[in-house]
Symmetry: none
Subunit: 403 residues, 2 copies
């Protein structure tokens, strides 16, 4: 198959005053309610989205590939045009992004769990009975700042039993295995280097685990910790390098701001509602030519299995949409990073509806924005990583390829 | 773009009790009868398939790629999720699989034709007037078991003028050219090594061809033989390694059992009708979590140009379907390995209708299983090698990719 990648786009992209707005409704795609036969999006009353669908063109996207359920990292990177398998982000780094931790070049981040071990040191609860975030914060403070062989270990609480451990020092290479055995009744695994360059990382991580064992000994249920997903902040080409865009992110949740920062977007301060986000968009509209607006509520409602709440959040977005369309951007894209059907209560592999509206898009027959209607859309079904080149083309920011 | 391959699926697949049934109607896709405007599948009365299409989701698959007509090997491997261009099977091996010949590691198999040559040794008929299978069997016996430089040559008849020659010995490498010139009035080609490692193979093969020339001298019209497709049994990752499945094949024809064995399926003994095959499925239902059920008749009817017979066989399958659906498998996939339109009397490049039914598939508007209706299916048009990841996802046997 033809591979249209970032290097290729870089050769044909150019800067221009036209503006692109990408609205990502997290976990947007759904499944039919068995009682009504309609998905969340079909159920929602969405006159403004339907108007955009009518004047625009629709389709369905696969974030990673057919059958593959993406996490938030791959789901978003694909929409920014980055092959989500090639541009992989480690678990530790993603968690750090999620709490707005300012990772430095060279830092190695690991995701941590406080856990329970018995007298023999075997894991009896991988989540230490889901201790409170307050308790987690207290335990992190006990361990934060340890100095081991010139490596500083920084601990930050995430939520309940979850935290991140950041190893800061010279020459750290993250190619080590997890200590988390992912099952009960065996001891945390020793951390081994998977390449010779990672020997120091493994050594420091083991020292840290041993130190934690001693310090946490009396803290049952959280009397030990497990580490996984050792990783460094990757160096991705920026959207400015690839697309010649001046991009900005408007997102109320830190993880999505973090993902956007990885591809060089500037972070705009905003509030927690879609109205706040669109107000931020309006205030900053003249300063950027690409905006990624993130809506978290759809995914959270889907994860909770709350079909009706997901419907309501879609309706809220629809209701706010005139604040966006009134800016008359050259290209509007509305889609999701993956599906989170309320029926499944989790991310899923189902393709995600996408809508692209611009002066230059080719009309199709879709008049209602929904999963079943998008099957018939003019964009067809395609990999999510191609939406950016479509948006760029519709913004007239790509030159002809070949004479 | 993103390449979702077996190595990737291996990382995210896990074992679970859910069950997948893949029914492959060989040469399933068709072309419209000029008198009625309807394809074989459209003409067939298929209430059970239509019911599955209504509750499931449909699409069209390209076994290798648009415009590419696949043989049985690539057609099936794609449906098992193996890139049919990368996972290639030599002609000799495929013929050996087709007669249930038990190839050993290191064996080199070649497809053979008995042919006619004139006094000057030039080929006058590449098929020796299509001698009978009995005659072929007799001639194979004349040559079978020859020992040449510590290499045993084993001959087995296939059908009419066709046979296989298996070279068994140490250090054989199959990188040699065919002796079959594929045209008349020139001599069989000498067999040359294409790499230095294949010198011995070339030498033994030439010795064998010379010996055959002597032994067959008085057997006109079958007074010589031609060899092609020298190949060894490939080592493919098994479906258990890739998908963590316990897979079984139910097929009345040896070639399809052989193809399935190449990817690690267990062979279940069965009879020759679809009813026999579904009885075998029922008997073994608790012992496996993946079943590949093969129906040969559709392809044979297509090859014979017998439109009506192909219609009848599709109707037989439809009629037997309740024996399968009553088992309530988690995922049912119905499709073909390629099209064999009766109008063309041969395999063709046309995309193949596919139907996937599970509790978690997303509704589309297709209510009749047919080529034209599948154009509007929710699965869209996609490479056949992606159907397994979709089936795995719908069986909830794939974890999320990325956090």
């Amino acid at each position: 198959m033809s591979i249209v990648d970032l290097e290729f786009i870089k050769l044909i992209s150019f800067s221009s005053p036209s503006k692109i707005i990408l609205i990502i409704l997290d976990g947007f795609g759904g499944l039919s309610n068995p009682e009504t036969g309609k998905t969340e999006l079909e159920t929602a009353n969405t006159p403004n989205l339907d108007k955009l669908a009518t004047s625009g063109t629709c389709g369905l996207i696969d974030p990673v590939g057919p059958g593959i359920t993406p996490g938030s990292g791959p789901g978003h990177l694909a929409l920014f045009g980055y092959d989500p398998v090639r541009f992989n982000i480690g678990r530790g780094v993603l968690e750090a992004l999620g709490i707005d931790f300012d990772l430095q070049p060279g830092d190695v981040a690991a995701r941590g769990n406080f856990c329970s071990v018995d007298k023999a040191g075997l894991v009896t609860d991988r989540r230490a009975g889901r201790i409170s975030t307050e308790e987690c914060t207290k335990l992190c403070r006990l361990l934060d700042g340890a100095m081991l062989d010139n490596v500083r270990v920084l601990l930050s609480p995430v939520k309940e039993h979850r935290f991140i451990a950041v190893f800061r020092g010279e020459g750290l290479v993250p190619d080590v295995n997890d200590s988390d055995p992912q099952q009960l009744d065996i001891a945390p695994k020793p951390i081994n280097a998977l390449t010779p360059e990672a020997n120091m990382m493994a050594d420091v991580a083991n020292q840290f685990a041993n130190k934690a064992k001693t310090i946490l000994a009396e803290q049952h249920p959280a009397n030990m910790l497990l580490l996984r997903g050792f990783s460094q902040r990757p160096h991705f080409p920026t959207m400015n390098e690839v697309y010649k865009l001046k991009p900005a992110v408007i997102a109320s949740y830190p993880m999505y701001r973090g993902l956007a920062k990885l591809v060089g977007m500037e972070v705009l301060k905003t509030g927690s509602s879609i109205e706040d986000e669109l107000a931020t968009l309006k205030e900053n509209y003249t300063n950027y030519d690409f905006f990624f607006v993130h809506v978290k509520g759809t995914d959270a409602a889907g994860e909770d299995g709350d079909f009706d709440r997901k419907v309501r959040i879609i309706e809220q977005v629809d209701n706010s949409l005139p604040n966006l369309t009134s800016l008359q951007p050259d290209v509007i894209v509305v889609t999701g990073d993956h599906s989170t059907p309320a029926l499944l209560k989790s991310h899923s592999w189902h393709p995600v509806p996408v809508l692209l509206q611009s002066k230059w898009c080719r009309r199709d027959e879709v008049k209602k924005f929904s999963e079943p209607a998008c099957i018939y859309g003019g964009l067809g079904r395609f990999p999510a990583a191609q939406i950016m080149s479509l948006a760029m083309a519709n913004a007239l920011k790509l030159t002809k390829f070949g004479a």
